[in-house]
Symmetry: C2
Subunit: 280 residues, 2 copies
Amino acid sequence: MTEWYDEVYRDRTRYGLRVTRRLFEGRSDLQHVEVVETEQWGRVLVIDGIFMTSEKEEHFYHEMLVHPALVTAPSTARVLVVGGGDGGTVREVLRHPGVERCTMVEIDGLVVEASRAHLTTVGTAWDDPRLDLRIGDGIRFVAEADSASFDVVLLDGTDPVGPGEGLFDEAFYRHVARVLAPDGVFALQSESPIVTAPVFYEIQETLRRVFRRVHPYFGPAPLYSAGLWSWTHASRSVDPLAADPARVERIEAVTKHYNRAVHRAAFALPNEVRRQLEVC
Amino acid sequence: MTEWYDEVYRDRTRYGLRVTRRLFEGRSDLQHVEVVETEQWGRVLVIDGIFMTSEKEEHFYHEMLVHPALVTAPSTARVLVVGGGDGGTVREVLRHPGVERCTMVEIDGLVVEASRAHLTTVGTAWDDPRLDLRIGDGIRFVAEADSASFDVVLLDGTDPVGPGEGLFDEAFYRHVARVLAPDGVFALQSESPIVTAPVFYEIQETLRRVFRRVHPYFGPAPLYSAGLWSWTHASRSVDPLAADPARVERIEAVTKHYNRAVHRAAFALPNEVRRQLEVC
């Protein structure tokens, strides 16, 4: 009685999950939002037909987006998360005791609503008093925010189509650089260097026009069936390998995937990526 | 006019490729062998409905199976490859000038035949005079081979079903240990620590009963849509991080994925894997 739910990519590949139950379906002004129960990954959040996150493998993505920035930024007091409606990113951010305030700006309230109701193991920090959750346009929020008002900015956006598109623009990155403290760190998901290589390299090029230090890093994201996923650590001057040992030790005691060895390893550039970045 | 070819895993997930042309189909005594042309990965070898290798991403798998062993083994003069019918593994082995003889034992001649005819960019070393290609049972070959007659053994087998099943047994690994020189290195594909975790850990446990040093390592294998793939470096006494710098430098000049940074990074153990291996 179960059905396949397939995510189709460019009509060239598809990745299908056997769905045992449909838990939520709704349409906001912006997107079609679903939560389905699958045998492989538990509950899965789907936006516009694209698998976004799942109970059983979300930790790979969220730990890798958050911790490299949070253990290398000189201060972690003021963190801004753009996107991240499922709640996994702010959960990882708020594990760091150095975070005094985490502002999260998600454009689609329906994603938060669906996630709070149906993905309760992903978003576990909704009631943390340090969380300042706002439903609104992250691009506009960053454009209007005071300069140097955040120590870390994390971009947890969708792919560069639909409402997430402007999150890949130089104009947006320039505002991120402006709202960051001089020694602040920006980290973002930056697509796959394998199956979405053109987008990956375009993000790197754009970031390099804005930030002096731009370091992509790599890890698994099983739900995206992309072979390898990437995130990027961007800043004026922060060495992404110079992690605070105390912060790393504290966080690796509770993470499922991330630890000091994984942190260092993630920044190793495969030959193809290294060669391509040299000519970017 | 094109069709989807789906690999179905445990009726829980499926990974589909749009096929534009069927190039080969045949049945040996052992397996159903196909080569199809796909938009995503070029030509793909399929055995019993499972995607084995493809023109456009085979380098991830083959470079990671071969080079960590070939740059750490004290000698690389005598190499044995069990399986590897597509030819990608021996191609990478024979790039090392220290290899004097590479014996390859593939159980299914039809895989070699289909690959030689249709995957000409994968197997490029079929005519290398150092290659000793034998069609036969690798388990039997290893059981009958002289002790200490190889410096490196590489196991490039299929999943632990069908003819590849015995390649995951302790009895086979004991013969591998016997035919290896005392300081020889054994490397094998060892499935995914994410989507096939039970098999991954069983392989680790079995290897640990036979080899003193057993080090799994990780990397992408996009065609397997497993999030992360693994290989394992096993030996009596060889440190998998103590690579010969001259050999690394020579090989990383020609590889697409592998290099010294990737080598070191691959051996980083994610938290879940580290914890699980401690209780194995």
